[in-house]
Symmetry: C2
Subunit: 308 residues, 2 copies
């Protein structure tokens, strides 16, 4: 039997796993990324996680055919190089070559959102879809587009400006999709609403949980908080705007929403579908809009499946 | 030798031509579209133009292998159907089937911007590019993306919102790329500037030419008109914003600018390159940004090449 190593290089954790040809994880390992350290030191931890996952898999080393990695940032897939990653502080990191040399198997590097998208298409929410757009709403907004189980490389629309001259984005542009539709964007809006109404339900939930998270505003809306409903309404307006841009532009059969916000399920998706349908071309069929189902495993599975 | 019929269905004119395998037009014909007539009546005129072009080509009918068409609007390429076209008023028009039956050869339907993009890659400004984005700045904004001489189907970003809540677009959305970056958008901005300053250089040029066109503002700027320079500056800001969205998202090797505005050459492209470079990901190489070279022939050649 053939197995593949998947590596997901996250801003918080590094995950590695042994995956079979159907996208099933046999064993996995996770270590903190420690993003403030030199890139070659982080590499050693990635190799450590890979070895832990291989040890746990109980498979013949010869059956492990290749390693696929998913990394955030600007990726040179052809040469296995992370050209630029502003969250990890990586520049011109030849990680493909280094991993291949260390493990003695071929290595491939994909953008993390692309890898996650492939994972969802092979084994998750978009299984069987001819074309699928996977949007990850986390710290940033990741996008991946998969046609016929192949990654459409570099389909990165988190930094698509949707609001000219709008909110400043971490990338330096103003009004990026990510600045509004990321979990960070929603949390910022939630915090602003709490500041405006420090005695309200949202403030109460935040106090109890000792943090403002992506679900604070949804929990408050469930309790009937009108201000929370307004925050969600505005958030889904922007999210629908960006999604409609991409649905008009790429015409996917399925749109899967992942990341922290994707977990809100129908309380996000139901209003979103209505708004997206209003914004896409008249006569166009609304794609299936669903939540991602693999969670953090999508990146790991997809990275492994990219070398299948 | 094998020849292919290309048909370009424009809002103003219908063009047909016989094209050889290298993308060279052997003979062509053009008739007014008469977009306000029933679609089956327009079809007869398309067939008439095709026959005129075949008569003019002086080739053996057996050598004509297939017909490729480019149409604006929402296209079902797989089935040769114009699903929806708001400029021509077409709905669910099975033009592929009808053309194939009438001519006795296979027929294929592409989006017109996609066809034009393929034309520029096979025989024009983006010849030899591995991936090319062709943006047509005309009545609307068309976009086509070609990888390895294959059309990436349905890559339509004219109705990508770049200015949330902005200018109303013909599609019903607000703030579309097209509403700002089309020739129509520029002409509207020029007219507004003329209304603000009816004694200025722009007004003077418009009076002499008896119209406001896409080059009015460029001609005025060449004569030192400061208001015209401001209009161009704002126009190129929006154009650069949308282009940067697509360059970040699709990472093309070449970007070709066509349509009426594309003809402005370096007086458009020089400032545009500077602005786009500021907006794309740090570390990303600026794609070659050039003018389309085939003009109206791109759509015809590309339509023919889509069945090569």
């Amino acid at each position: 039997m053939a197995y593949y190593i998947g590596v997901d290089i996250g801003g918080t954790n590094l995950k590695a796993g042994v995956v079979d040809g159907s996208g099933k994880i046999i064993s996995e390992a996770s270590v903190p990324t420690g993003a403030d350290r030199p890139q070659d030191v982080v590499l050693q931890d990635i190799l450590g996680a890979v070895k832990t996952s291989i040890d746990g898999a109980n498979v013949d080393a010869k059956e492990i055919k290749a390693v696929g990695m998913g990394s955030p940032g600007m990726i040179d897939t052809a040469n296995g190089i992370v050209i630029y990653n502003n969250n990890l502080g990586w520049r011109d990191f030849h990680i493909g070559e280094k991993m291949s040399a260390a493990l003695g198997i071929p290595a491939r590097l994909e953008n993390d959102a692309d890898a996650a998208a492939l994972g969802e298409v092979v084994a998750g929410s978009a299984k069987g879809a001819k074309s699928a757009l996977i949007i990850t709403l986390g710290t940033g907004v990741g996008s991946g587009f998969v046609i016929n189980e192949k990654i459409f490389p570099g389909c990165e629309f988190g930094h698509m400006v949707i609001a000219y001259g709008g909110r400043e984005c971490t990338c330096g542009r103003h009004g990026c999709f990510e600045a509004y539709a990321s979990a960070t964007g929603l949390i910022n809006s939630t915090k602003e609403a709490i500041a405006r109404n420090p005695g309200g339900i949202m403030a109460d939930i935040a106090k109890k949980e000792n943090t403002v998270s992506g679900h604070t505003v949804f929990d408050a809306a469930d309790k009937g908080d009108e201000e929370a409903k307004r925050v969600i309404d505005e958030y889904t307006d922007y999210l629908a705007c960006g999604l409609a841009n991409l649905i008009n532009g790429l015409q996917p059969e399925v749109v899967s929403i992942g990341g922290g916000i994707g977990k809100q399920g129908e309380r996000l998706l139901a209003p979103l579908r209505v708004k997206v349908e209003r914004e896409i071309y008249k006569g166009m069929k609304l794609p299936k809009i669903v939540s991602c189902t693999l969670g953090y495993k999508a990146g790991l599975i997809g990275a492994a499946m990219s070398v299948r």
